[in-house]
């Protein structure tokens, strides 16, 4: 909320009232028609709010832009955005609306035209607040600028916790961002990489394949707190869950789970031990329900699709045999 009102203020300060009023229909046309391509840059259309996309096109002057919008270009811009019902003035208003967004991004504090002086600012405020109510286009330029400052250059995947660059994987406790380096005890703690030496690797999580580590006896975690010799009660039963579409079916192995867990960890609170009684979706897993109680937090995350979706369907086979028979 606070952020939106902030954007609204930016617009109120930046837009001259007169052009803001004319902008209403331009904005509507943009939202209805132009945004189909210009919001995301389909067919390399200059994107709304991206000053870098517009500056080479603005070099030819805004008259050139109006002409291109009205008559279309060979690159893919259809005449009048593909809707001949719009008048020339309406198309120009839509172009102005898109240009206003990149002018704001370039210099948010200064009004683009000094003509704003004789316009009453009170009228401008509600109209200018309207674009802020639809956060996507208005928020885009500000947000990209801010994150670009916050992230180190070249680290384009930094937003993704599952794609950690090599330098940020398994750091020692004083450098991991959650331990306090000013605490003496932090420096006495074991660095994860020391413990992982010799353990089989994986592509996600701790980047250790824990299932293989326990299966090949690289580690031998106790099943019982006090008794190191106690053997786990392992249950070897695969449950196949058929899934929609062409995604391979899920094979759930009890074996690998009972090597770590007790039956009561999952049954009956998370999974009712009865066929067909559990509705599971990827959405619920991402929300931390069902498999997501562990997978995505402590067990391998959902980026490793094929570790669960491992049983291929023979979808293509009937078609292929039919084709073979025809030959």
């Amino acid at each position: 909320m606070r952020f939106r009102s902030l954007i609204a203020f930016t617009f109120a300060a930046a837009l001259p009232a007169a052009s803001a009023l004319a902008d209403v229909s331009g904005k509507d046309i943009y939202a209805k028609t132009c945004s189909v391509c210009h919001a995301t840059g389909i067919a390399s259309a200059p994107r709304y709010g991206h000053a870098g996309d517009w500056s080479p096109r603005l070099a030819g002057g805004s008259a050139r832009l109006y002409a291109n919008a009205l008559k279309g270009t060979a690159k893919g811009m259809p005449p009048k955005g593909g809707n001949p019902a719009y008048s020339d003035a309406e198309i120009k208003a839509a172009v102005d609306h898109m240009l206003a967004a990149v002018k704001d991004a370039a210099k948010p504090a200064t009004p683009p035209k000094p003509a704003a002086k004789d316009a009453e600012p009170k009228a401008a405020a509600p109209v200018a607040a309207a674009p802020a109510a639809t956060p996507a286009p208005a928020a885009a330029p500000v947000a990209t600028v801010a994150t670009a400052d916050a992230l180190p250059a070249g680290d384009v995947n930094a937003f993704n916790r599952l794609l950690k660059p090599v330098g940020r994987r398994n750091p020692p406790p004083p450098e991991d961002g959650i331990h306090d380096p000013g605490n003496d005890g932090t420096h006495a703690l074991l660095p994860p990489l020391t413990a992982y030496a010799g353990l089989p690797k994986s592509f996600a999580g701790n980047r250790v394949n824990w299932v293989e580590a326990i299966g090949t006896k690289k580690i031998n975690p106790r099943w019982d707190r006090a008794d190191p010799a106690a053997e786990p009660v392992v249950m070897d039963l695969n449950i196949v869950r058929e899934v929609k579409g062409s995604m391979p079916d899920v094979v759930y192995p009890h074996k690998q789970h009972t090597e770590w867990l007790d039956c009561s960890n999952c049954h009956p609170a998370i999974f009712i031990p009865q066929k067909g009684a559990n509705a599971i979706s990827m959405a619920s897993i991402l929300l931390g329900e069902k498999c997501g109680v562990c997978h995505g937090k402590v067990a391998f995350p959902v980026s490793e699709c094929r570790l669960c979706h491992s049983k291929k369907k023979d979808l293509a086979r009937p078609a292929q045999t039919a084709a073979g028979a025809a030959k």
Partner: protein, 124 residues
């Protein structure tokens, strides 16, 4: 405007920077710690799973598999419950080594770090 922009950048930075490079499944416990004047506790799953299977803590010791669902006090630990079942100076270091467990950065929220969950507005 500039100030507001800087504030916004700071918020974004905080959202991006906090979980930084925490090890997958590191848990921060800060329900009581800072109110009691000590650093938050960092519990590393990776260290414990090399030595104990999940069931030992999540079944025998009664830790619920939900961050924030476990109310653990130092009294209970001294009585041998929860962490105290092992952190008794016998199986692992005892409750007198405050700084080994209470080693988190001040101000960290209770939560599980290093996973796929975001801390920002896109939180699932």
């Amino acid at each position: 405007m500039k100030l507001a922009g800087a504030l916004f950048a700071a918020v974004i930075m905080a959202l991006v920077a906090v979980p930084a490079a925490a090890e997958y499944a590191d848990v921060v416990l800060n329900k009581r710690s800072e109110k009691e004047g000590v650093r938050p506790v960092v519990f590393p799953h990776w260290f414990h799973r090399i030595r104990f299977q999940c069931r030992v803590c999540h079944h025998e010791l009664g830790f619920k598999m939900r961050v924030g669902a476990n109310d653990v006090t130092m009294n209970e630990i001294s009585e041998g419950k929860f962490c105290g079942a092992c952190h008794n100076g016998d199986i692992a270091w005892g409750a007198d080594r405050c700084d080994l467990c209470h080693s988190g950065k001040p101000g960290l929220p209770t939560g599980i770090f290093g996973g796929h969950e975001t801390g920002g507005p896109g939180r699932w």
